[in-house]
């Protein structure tokens, strides 16, 4: 049984490889659809990772109430000492954020100013690829650039660059498992406060680490309650909820792309089904001859289905890998209201893309396979 099926698969491969132009055109069409599908899936996955809170998340973001753009969120830096006293708070880091554009943009430049000695507490996950943290600490205008940021702007250690009115010296290139870290420039907090004209003593937000995930809500409520009657009231949310709220336009935009993904799936399904159906119609006599030679209905159906699956799979591999290469090479980052979303493909997207291509190839072949298998031999042999 396995040997027979293997021989049928080999025969299907011969049919595909020896009708090169037809197969290639179909595969390219499928690849285009699967490229779009994989890109959309990557965007959806990146958004999911950035906005869905998990049990391991213990970070709160304290922002100015009713503000969204970093340029308008101005909080007194002395709030830090008050927040630090609240029960359940493990660490508080004041952060100044400066961006070149608060609207939705594909080329956002974001500076994060943190106290030099707090960087490793704020972002313990970062790894320095080039340069050193020490050289960053020693120089007040030094910046550590996320690797995507550096790649997008073609910057390396020792360069100077000017963006959003801030001129910095590149002291290092960093890599981080957190996608946002790879798209920002870390600078010293006092330097950024002065360079952005916010002034010393004013920050954009506080990142607050709590002792456990259960403490997120009580601590957030207590912080907001404490500053409710102050001149600068706060709104405190878990980090990922903050992202989802702040980048609402971005979330809606990326959410809409789901329909593009569905459209791509429908196009691939129609393309493979049409290609396989045309093959079946062109091979009415050939299939009848095979049946005369002893190929049963199941063997004919398998032969047709394997062709459809191989077309879908070949196009899927080409499309998904192209999307993977394109997104890695381009390092696409969408920014909105100062938060950035890195569109980074992962293994999950690759596997989902390949499985989808496989399923679409099979689904598209079912009707043509059934049609090929059920045709009576005699009338097929007489077909023109």
């Amino acid at each position: 049984m396995i040997a027979k099926s293997f021989n049928i698969v080999l025969l299907a491969v011969k049919q595909l490889t020896r009708h090169r132009i037809r197969s290639l055109l179909t595969i390219l069409g499928v690849a285009a659809g699967m490229f779009l599908f994989a890109t959309v899936e990557t965007m959806q996955g990146s958004l999911r990772r950035a906005t869905q809170t998990t049990a391991d998340d213990t970070t709160l973001v304290v922002y100015r109430d009713n503000r969204f753009c970093p340029a308008t969120s101005r909080l007194p830096e002395h709030y830090e000492s008050t927040i630090r006293k609240i029960e359940g708070v493990r660490e508080v880091i004041p952060i100044q954020i400066v961006v070149n554009n608060c609207g939705a943009s594909l080329d956002i430049i974001a500076f994060r100013g943190v106290p030099p000695d707090s960087l490793t507490k704020y972002a313990p996950q970062i790894q320095v690829l080039d340069g050193t943290v020490e050289s960053w600490k020693q120089r007040s205008d030094a910046a550590l650039l996320g690797r995507h940021f550096a790649a997008r702007r073609g910057l390396k250690v020792g360069d100077r660059f000017d963006a959003a009115g801030v001129v910095v010296h590149v002291a290092g290139i960093i890599d981080s498992p957190e996608p946002q870290d790879n798209n920002v420039a870390y600078v010293h907090l006092p330097f950024l406060q002065q360079a952005s004209r916010a002034g010393l003593g004013v920050v954009t937000q506080f990142n607050v680490r709590v002792t456990s995930a259960e403490r997120l809500d009580p601590v957030a409520k207590e912080i907001d309650e404490y500053f409710r009657s102050e001149q600068a009231p706060t709104r405190t949310r878990p980090e990922k909820a903050f992202f989802a709220d702040t980048a609402q336009e971005l979330v809606e935009l990326v959410g809409f792309t789901r329909w593009l993904g569905l459209g791509a799936v429908a196009a691939v399904l129609g393309l493979v089904a049409n290609a396989v159906l045309l093959v079946v119609r062109a091979r009415v006599k050939e299939n009848a001859v095979l049946q005369t030679l002893g190929f049963g209905q199941r063997a004919i159906a398998l032969l047709v289905a394997v062709e459809g699956v191989l077309l879908g799979l070949a196009g899927g591999v080409l499309g998904v890998l192209s999307a993977l290469a394109f997104l890695r090479w381009q390092s696409i980052t969408i920014g909105n209201e100062g938060v950035t979303l890195a569109i980074m493909p992962d293994l999950d997207v690759v596997l989902r893309g390949l499985l989808t291509a496989l399923a679409l190839g099979l689904l598209a072949s079912l009707y043509p396979a059934w049609q090929a298998a059920r045709r009576p031999i005699v009338s097929s042999l007489r077909a023109v």
Binding site: A3, N7, K14, Q291, T292, L293, G294, V378
Partner: protein, 236 residues
Amino acid sequence: MSSYESFIRCRGVTKTYHKGNTPVTPLSALDLDVPRGTFLALMGPSGSGKTTLLNLIAGIDSPTSGSLHVGGVDIAKLKRGQLTKWRASHVGYIFQLYHLVPILSAFENVELPLLLAPLSRKERHRQVQVALELVGLGDRSDHRPSELSGGQEQRVAIARAIVANPALLVADEPTGDLDRESATQILNLLRELVREHGKTIVMVTHDPRAAAAADTVLHLEKGRLVEAADLNMQAA
């Protein structure tokens, strides 16, 4: 079964199909006996039912009524799946227009009937080579159909029909698309298969010269046998 017993035995075989709402009966209550190792030619005008009879004997169509024994098996009672398996090992079909798969080489075309057989790759290749040698095309195994002449294509088709070593070969106008020289070679090959390999061949033809190569010629008209040209045949 001895060679004097019927290898093919038809009793009351009727085939009716519908063209729109009109029933058409190309074969009506036909009785026929063909001994093993016979080269039988079926002749008759168009629409006389000879190809229908050939298709029934080959098991690619089923009679509406009657019994049809081939090699002791009543193939009229077999279901589609059973008939497919029976066909794979008992019948080789030779078409007028060869019907080779154009993208496959001569070797691969001949190999097709063995792809579903429980054979090792080595054994399969040996059988294909033997069949190609038998039809005189051992040196053309890598050629595609488009690189062969009509006579060579038909010889590949014959190799494909005999590669699984079936006892029965059916041929639908095997020389109908060939020049005289190629037709003679094909008929000689068919005769050799009967004489030296003990095959039973049923051939449909319009060509009296082709029919003359057969041991026996039967004429059909309006779905009935009208004349037997050999005493070995008992046409009722």
